[in-house]
Amino acid sequence: MTAKTLLELKNIEVSFKTRHGVLKAVDDLSLTVQEGEILGIVGESGAGKSMTGAAIIGLIDPPGRLSAGEIWFGDERVDEQPERLRGREISMIFQDPLTSLNPLRTVGDQLVETILAHMPVSKEEAEQRALDGLAEVGIDPERINAYPHAFSGGMRQRVVIALALATEPKLVIADEPTTALDVSVQAQVLDLLKRLCRERGTPVILITHDMGVIAQSSDPIAVMYAGRLTEIGGTREVLTNPQHPYTQGLMASTPSVDAKSFGKALFQIPGAMPKLDALPPGCAFNPRCQHAHERCRQERPSVQAGRAACWLLETEQEGAA
């Protein structure tokens, strides 16, 4: 691999102590982010994708905690003191720009405050950077003294992107950045995020539930299910030739604007994602999987077996050998 590894998650585990025992929201997850790439993490609600983002930046709400594993940022182990990196080295973009911006302060104030808090610059320079930042995301710098409510949803998310990039972070984590937006605005905001990060060479972790958004913006992608990594690989390979039965089902149940699918019933995966306090033994997907066999119900597969965490692939390989 030629690209440098910026972030590495080694077997991390996020767990919550509850009355029903310890629940693992993220279970034995390993991922790497290379310089300059946009890693997509996709999964349905409860899959643990947002929890993974929160773990990196140290924003897991108690009683949850990072209970095992290591997070490496460059050559430094950071899981003990994630606050040190938050804001300065790693920025986060949240889903709802109306709640991530302070409604009582102008966007300029918020930009300047963020820059001053994290960078050794003068007030004047911070103001100049705030103006440049707004211009870069396509907002008229004259609106620097406007309040968040004066902007539309898409414009607000642009402000949030400007805020996230203002401190020249080394990594941006975007958690469902376009879910609250209309499709036409979504396309603009995604393009903007992609362009700015590519220009700066800043890697992005894009967390979303939308396969279309992932397909158009990130490479590689990681698919999560019930807190576990189920499949990881190049976006094109994973989406056009998914190996894990869950990814296959997810792709087949995504409605498309393809003429062949008009009026036809969608494929549906039976059942629902198990609750974390009632995970089946073995592969978490086995009760919904039509190919599940004995081993799937007993042993838990891991991605090390191949691109996807699935025993089927292993038996196929053994059969071929």
Partner: protein, 271 residues
Amino acid sequence: MSFVVASDLTRTFDLSDPWIVRALTLRPKRILKAVDAVNFQIERGSTYALVGESGSGKSTIANMVVGLLQPSSGSITIDGRNLADASLSRREQQAQRRRIQMVFQSPYASLNPRWKVGDILGEPIRAFGLIDGAKAQQTRIAELLEQVGLSASDAGKYPHEFSGGQRQRISIARALSSQPEVIICDEPTSALDVSVQAQVLNLLKALQKDFGLTYLFITHDLAVVSTMANRIGVLNQGVLVEEQDTADLFSKPQQDYTKMLLSAAPKIEFS
């Protein structure tokens, strides 16, 4: 004549300041035209989809069709009857209401958290006086739950005991409980995950086939529309800019706005 007919449907909202403020500042009244002279027809047993971005007026139309909002002008007739018609007696109005039901976007907000599922499904049955006797009502509730893929024993549970997809099934069962002919689905799956969305869309389709239901489907998601609708109307700022059969709209969009919507929709394809 078509089963559902909207003719010159218009709805305005008065956003003006109080009159005293207007008198002092000399500002004129501000009237927002949320829906502007919209015409469409839906055939019995088919699905008509209204597509548009936020603020396009699609939910306002849904609310007018179901009778939650009065049109400012224009009319909606269902099977030749206008719900807003003042000459209709109360009884006739109620009979008309029974035929139109709605499934809302958020299954978290549209089910009363303090009511058991059985009470939620039983209310329309009692309100319209459809079935007499507690025993017969319970049998009907059990039947409804099974029709939407839940089990009869779920009647004794509260909404919070169900997942999002299951709650939306309860909403659908509630809509079905008055034996309606038209169901308005206002973004019924946008709060759901993809795999659950597929289950709910397939359920809606199967029910349409079984009961000959007519759907008015409101959504912002063109992909969802393509699998559900027979005919699609595209709304932009309260105006119906284009209307075509599903296959034609996707292959031969006429208006620039429609083309823009189609090209902006995220697609899973690689060149």
